[in-house]
Symmetry: C2
Subunit: 347 residues, 2 copies
């Protein structure tokens, strides 16, 4: 266990967030808890996962429970834990009370974000899993280029592209596929609908894949037929903003500065009020995780982080453009992981 629980003022830590449990123990199932003390660690789950836990879990003992919180409390008591950290952002109030009742003499201390902070820095094995996930996703964009056309229903295009993910080995989509054509492109979360794509429209395609637990996330915007002057201007503004931001990325840079680089360019072009969301977010076991690349972020980029860079311009009634890559923070700069070209493709 890489958790420094002592420096957090605890001598035990109960981890309930299932993604954090996967990160620390290797368990890929959907139910269980991790109890870490200075000396020993336990993974605790119910009988359904006994075999799987024995196969997957590393670095801790496996214990099967009938009553989760009560068993955890008994183990903590046997280890004489005096201050038990817990994930206050994950553990429900009712479960907090159960632990408290079972451990009347133990101090309970919310340690929110402790594991999330570790997870922002990807280890080499994680980078390799992310690359695999991105590879499947990039292939999906080849299918997208072949599939998108005037007359095609957004939902039908999504189905065909998602099928290609599965055929290239993806476990599932990371989120509802966004295919937002024409006026729908102005919705930042316009998941594929029954609307048919029409000639002359821009189509925002934002997709993600999960492979071996690791997410990928990418956006491209296509034009159906010949692009108008304004479509070209908006596209090139977003693209330049995105590349300016990527150019800023290196270890030690404030995330808010990276956001500023993109936002400043979009503002200068006169589209400032049409870019309402943050510039990006970390990606890993979750498709949205730390760090945050928004204007108010206090995060600082570090080597090994993997983040999205995804500025957009969304003009109500007119449509939208978003361009998103996944970027790894490397010594001295950035490595763009997503490989789909960013020329303005008119289909």
């Amino acid at each position: 266990m890489r958790l420094a629980i002592k420096s957090a003022g605890a001598d035990g830590f109960l981890i309930s967030d299932i993604k954090n449990i996967r990160y620390l123990s290797g368990f890929t199932g959907s139910s269980g808890y991790l109890l870490v003390t200075e000396k020993k660690s336990w993974f605790l789950t119910d009988s359904r996962y006994a075999t799987q836990a024995k196969e997957e879990v590393r670095g801790c003992r496996v214990k099967i429970y009938k009553k989760a919180l009560e068993t955890i409390a008994a183990v903590a008591a046997s280890m004489k834990v005096r201050t038990l950290g817990f994930e206050g952002g994950d553990l429900s109030y009712d479960n907090f009370l159960k632990v408290k009742k079972a451990l009347p003499k133990t101090r309970l201390k919310p340690l929110s974000g402790a594991v999330a902070a570790l997870r922002t820095i990807k280890e080499p094995v994680e980078i390799s899993l992310i690359r695999d996930s991105v590879k499947v996703l990039d292939k999906g964009y080849l299918t997208a280029q072949k599939t998108l056309a005037a007359g095609v229903r957004e939902k039908d295009a999504a189905l065909l592209i998602e099928r290609s993910f599965r055929e290239s080995g993806g476990d599932s989509t990371a989120f509802d596929t966004i295919i937002a054509s024409g006026f729908r492109g102005a919705l930042p979360h316009g998941k594929a609908s029954d609307k048919r794509i029409r000639k002359g429209e821009l189509v925002v395609v934002d997709m993600g894949v999960v492979l071996n637990g690791y997410n990928s996330d990418e956006t491209r915007t296509y034009c159906m037929g010949r692009a108008s002057a304004e479509q070209m201007k908006v596209y090139s503004t977003v693209l330049a903003a995105q590349e300016l931001a990527i150019g800023k990325i290196r270890p030690g840079v404030k995330a808010a500065e990276v956001d500023r680089a993109a936002r400043g360019h979009i503002e200068k072009a006169g589209y400032g009020k049409y870019f309402g969301h943050g510039l990006g977010h970390g990606v890993g076991l979750e498709v949205h995780e730390g760090p945050s690349l928004g204007p108010n972020s206090t995060d600082v980029l570090e080597e090994g982080m993997v983040v999205t860079v995804e500025p957009g311009i969304y003009i109500p009634g007119w449509g939208g453009v978003r361009i998103e890559d996944m970027v790894r923070v490397v010594k001295g700069g950035a490595e763009v992981l997503t490989k789909t070209p960013k020329d303005f493709v008119c289909l």
Copy 2:
């Protein structure tokens, strides 16, 4: 709002479980809160969902927040809520603290399970949505019969069946499709793997579909080639247990008694120790919800409940059989919603 909050000893109720919010307000997005008081109700969400909330939400005002819990607390304070109920099984400890800090004079009272209890009884419109979801699922079993064969990889079969769900209009699978052949059939949660199906094996196929938010869940077990005497015996034991249990279902019957009917039959046949899980569960907006049909359940069946009946026999190293239907509790008895035949099909 059908919530009787006064009788629960509160004059306000904060609902944070997103499925409960959907149930009560109609909002299908993934982020928001519902605040119900005796006089007025609010649905509160962030700006991404402003348009969607206005289109979908019924019976309450829509308010957009920047800081969720703080805004909710301000609305509760403006309504002079003295005792605010909340979902203790859903609200995280950290969010509980945020509400508490923002409402220092208000008593906070965990009202866990209040909405879940309402949700166990399906209204006619919900029954109709569940029927639609089951229809897509039953079609998937036709595809399963055509797809399963010696030499086929479990994962490839799952992919083909899931494709048929999507083609018949399903939004997604309700859970990772279980295709567990041969020895893997002894794992109650043996999701489709890289294992190839072999001649002579039993194959447990447990699948579910989500359509318009409503889940369906069904299991059939097939034999590859001619069945052995023991395979036939185990199959007919499970089937008889399942039908005995379905025969017990009617309003007023204790859920534990229904479990007993199936379990007793399996025990009498000498397979008692190979049936380790509960008999079934409610299905609706979640694929697992109340009531519980386990041996220790204290639930009593009521008209309008929709539950699964899914006994199984799992013999380590040998394999397994499970047969699962969705059943609606109707006046005087049970209506089986899933229509795939239950003869022992040898493919």
